[in-house]
Each structure stands twice: as structure tokens, then as C-alpha cells.
């Protein structure tokens, strides 16, 4: 129902004065209630309730944005930490590999050093720089040469056994003929029976033992060592193990020996400066 026309103030000034008076009354009421403990009038509370969703929504939105922002910052920090940790893992893995490598090297060098101390003659440590074991002529090239006292016919060994002999030297390099080379011959003996023979390379990965009579006691598994009778190799260096011993066509046995060295994994070697037999002694015939 529409309000009567005379209820609505005709002039805004009148309305203004009425409104100000009402507000002044409201303020007085509010200022008085503050002193008796009631800090909010009913009207004030009603206005607050009416508009309450807005501050609540703003607060919720602000809180959510703050959470999202801080979540984003945390995520950025986590990503950074993750990258840093990955880098650390990579560095530590590399260092771990290096240390493992060093530990292996140390163990190997210690055993090699201990082995070299068993020899009475002068020795030189060397490392292979080239390895040719695929062809018929098996050889390796060492990083030391005549400058360090290496000479032709010096024996080359490592902790596992006999490798070969020096066949050529330069100032800083030496070529070694392996015992598996087809032209290689080594005076050896069977450790168990002390029977002597000659080991020749088969040009592949093994060697054959010659000049062992058919009646000799040789079995697979027998250890073959240098005999020290060829003027090159000192006595007692492990050469290999007999893998096959059969009766041959003539008076001798056919014996196959597997070298104690894995020629594909040679890392350090010892060059034994063996005492050479003078040529005139070798050539002398009574």
C-alpha cells in the first residue's frame, strides 16, 4: 500500500534535518551503551548481519589466496631444493665412483708392489698404452722405454703371472711379445712334478706345452711355472694351468695350457730387468 503523500517529506532539507536528528539520537544511544557494557545496539547488529557475507567472503578469499601464494612459494622452494639435491646426488655419485676406482687401483697396486718386492732383480712399473691381442701377433706397448732401463728380453709380469717379454724398446716406449703369440717360447715346468718343457703360444688366446714325454704325469689342473732355463724369464713365475693333457702322435703329449693372465684386462705391469747371458757364452761351443 502506498504511503500517503504527506508522510514523505516535501523538501529534502526537512528530510535531511530529520535524518540527522535520528542519527544523532542513534549515536547518543550508541555512546551511552558503550559505558554499560553493551557495545552494539540491535540496529547496528542487524546491519552487520545483513552485510556479514562480504567480509567473510573477503576474508576467505584473502586466506585462500594467501594459502595458494604460500603454497606456490613452498613449491618453488621445494623445486629448488630438489634440483640442488639432485645436483648433490650427481656430485656424490661421481665422487663415489672415483673413490671406488681409487680403492680398486690402490688394492691392485699394493698387490703388485708386494709381488714386485719378491724379485731380487731391479724392476720398473709400467702401464700399457696399446694392446693388440686380436691378431696372430699378440703384443702390448708400454709407456716406459729404455730411459727407465728397460731392455730387449726383459720379462714382463703382473700379480697374476707372466705376460711376455720385451722385444723392442724406444726411449719412452717398449713393445712386449705376449706368451700367447705364435712366435713366443717360454721354458716352463709343471709345478707338481717339476717336469720341464717349452710353452709356445697358439696364436689365439692360449698356449701349448711341448716336449713333455708321453709317460710323464701331467693332468688337467696342474700349475705351469717358468723354469728359469731360457735366460729370459726368472724361475717360479706362474704361467698358466693345464686344461688338456692327451697322448700325442709321437713320443710327446699334447698339452693345452690356459694362461693365468687375462690379457684383456692388463692395467699395470712390472718389467723385470733380468740379468742377460752374454752372447759369447750363448754362442760358445766346447
Amino acid at each position: 500500500m502506498a504511503a500517503p503523500a504527506d508522510v514523505i517529506p516535501r523538501r529534502p532539507t526537512l528530510l535531511f534535518i530529520v535524518v540527522l536528528a535520528l542519527l544523532f539520537f542513534l549515536m547518543s544511544l550508541s555512546s551511552r551503551t558503550r559505558y554499560i557494557g553493551e557495545t552494539r545496539t540491535m540496529f547496528e547488529r542487524s546491519v552487520m548481519i545483513l552485510f556479514a557475507p562480504i567480509p567473510k567472503t573477503v576474508n576467505w578469499a584473502g586466506q585462500s589466496m594467501s594459502d595458494v601464494y604460500h603454497g606456490y612459494l613452498d613449491m618453488r622452494r621445494s623445486v629448488g631444493e630438489n634440483l640442488q639435491l639432485h645436483r648433490q646426488i650427481d656430485e656424490l655419485t661421481t665422487e663415489n665412483l672415483r673413490l671406488r676406482q681409487s680403492e680398486g687401483d690402490l688394492r691392485r697396486l699394493r698387490s703388485l708392489l708386494g709381488y714386485s718386492e719378491e724379485f731380487t732383480m731391479p724392476t720398473t712399473m709400467a702401464e700399457p698404452v696399446m694392446l693388440d691381442i686380436s691378431g696372430r701377433f699378440k703384443s702390448i706397448i708400454l709407456d716406459r722405454g729404455s730411459n727407465t732401463g728397460i731392455e730387449v728380453n726383459d720379462a714382463v709380469v703382473n700379480a697374476s703371472g707372466l705376460i711376455g717379454r720385451v722385444v723392442l724398446t724406444t726411449k719412452d716406449m717398449a713393445k712386449v711379445q705376449l706368451i700367447t703369440d705364435g712366435n713366443s717360447s717360454v721354458g716352463v715346468l709343471i709345478d707338481r712334478t717339476r717336469r720341464q718343457g717349452v710353452l709356445r703360444g697358439d696364436g689365439a688366446a692360449g698356449a701349448q706345452l711341448y716336449d713333455i714325454p708321453s709317460l710323464s704325469d701331467v693332468k688337467p689342473g696342474d700349475v705351469v711355472m717358468t723354469a728359469g732355463i731360457d735366460g729370459i724369464y726368472p724361475k717360479g713365475i706362474p704361467v698358466g694351468v693345464v686344461t688338456k693333457a692327451e697322448k700325442g702322435q709321437d713320443l710327446f703329449k699334447t698339452i693345452v695350457v690356459r694362461p693365468s693372465i687375462d690379457f684383456g684386462s692388463i692395467e699395470e705391469v712390472i718389467v723385470l730387468h733380468t740379468r742377460k747371458i752374454p752372447n759369447d757364452v750363448v754362442r760358445y761351443t766346447p
Binding site: 528530510l15 544523532f24 542513534l26 549515536m27 544511544l29 555512546s31 567480509p55
Partner: protein
């Protein structure tokens, strides 16, 4: 339509009030969004509507501030009446005119609050002059920017000609 715009403006002002309260608690000492709203509305020259707008905006501001309930409503009603009365006689248009009205309104608003607090609560307002100057500058600048944006992007004069005959 004008009342709808006022309602939306009031919601925005309250949102701004809540936001500033939450994140920059002291910001409302230097800036009053309700004055901008009331002046914007009152520049239409409709004195009756301006008084109602001033009361409503002031009561909402009172409800969410710690002052006496009715204090800001009183001050804003005075501002609204003054601005609307002036605009019912003069044709004030443009950003500068709006800024000038805002400056006047903020000063009147602060003076009214100062007097009422003195009378009713017998309290002195600390650093009144400095606070008033800062609030005037910031409110005026912000209000002019809002006015410019409204005229540029909504492509409408914020205050339509709503003048009543002088006798109303």
C-alpha cells in the same frame, strides 16, 4: 538502475574496507572508499536520494568500524547533502570537478567526525590535521582514477541528469 549501481558500489566499498582491514590495518586512516561512493552518487543532484545513500553507506561503514554507530552515517549524510545541493544548482562535470567535490566532501566528513567525537565522547582526535590532509589527498586521487576508468571503459557519464524541479 542508479540504485543498483549504488548497491554494487557499496558492496565494492565494503569489500575494499574488509580487504584493507585484513591486509593493511592502518590504510583506512588514509583512505575512505565510502566518501567516493557517496560523492559519485550525490553528483547526480538528487538531494533526496543522496541523503538516503549517505545514511546507508555511513551505517555500513559504522557497522564495520569501531566508532559510535551513526557517526560516519551522520558525516556522510552531511557530505551527500552538500554535494547534491551544489550539483542541483550548478552543472559540475568531469574528473576535475569530481575531484574538487571529493576534496570538499572529505574535509567536511573529517570535520563533522571531529566535532561529533569532541561533543559526544569528549575525546581529542590525535593528529587530526595531518590525517585529514593525507586522507584528502589519497581519497581524491583514488576517486579521480575510479571516475576516469568508469567514464573511459563504461562509456557513460557516471551521474545522469537526475535533477528534480527546484521545489522538490
Amino acid at each position: 538502475m542508479r540504485w543498483l549501481r549504488f548497491a554494487v558500489g557499496l558492496l565494492i566499498a565494503l569489500t575494499l574496507h574488509s580487504l584493507l582491514d585484513s591486509f593493511f590495518p592502518n590504510a583506512l586512516a588514509f583512505f575512505n572508499p565510502y566518501v567516493i561512493l557517496v560523492v559519485y552518487y550525490s553528483m547526480g543532484g538528487n538531494v533526496f536520494g543522496a541523503i538516503i545513500a549517505g545514511v546507508i553507506a555511513g551505517l555500513v561503514q559504522d557497522a564495520y568500524s569501531g566508532a559510535m554507530f551513526g557517526l560516519h552515517a551522520f558525516a556522510l549524510t552531511v557530505c551527500a547533502y552538500a554535494v547534491a545541493s551544489i550539483n542541483s544548482r550548478l552543472v559540475l562535470r568531469g574528473t576535475l570537478a569530481f575531484g574538487a567535490c571529493l576534496v570538499g566532501a572529505v574535509i567536511v566528513n573529517e570535520l563533522v567526525i571531529y566535532i561529533l567525537v569532541n561533543i559526544l565522547l569528549k575525546q581529542k582526535v590525535e593528529m587530526f590535521e595531518q590525517g585529514m590532509i593525507v586522507k584528502t589527498v589519497f581519497t581524491c586521487l583514488f576517486g579521480m582514477i575510479v571516475y576516469l576508468l568508469l567514464t573511459l571503459f563504461l562509456r557513460e557519464e557516471p551521474i545522469d541528469a537526475t535533477r528534480r524541479p527546484a521545489g522538490w
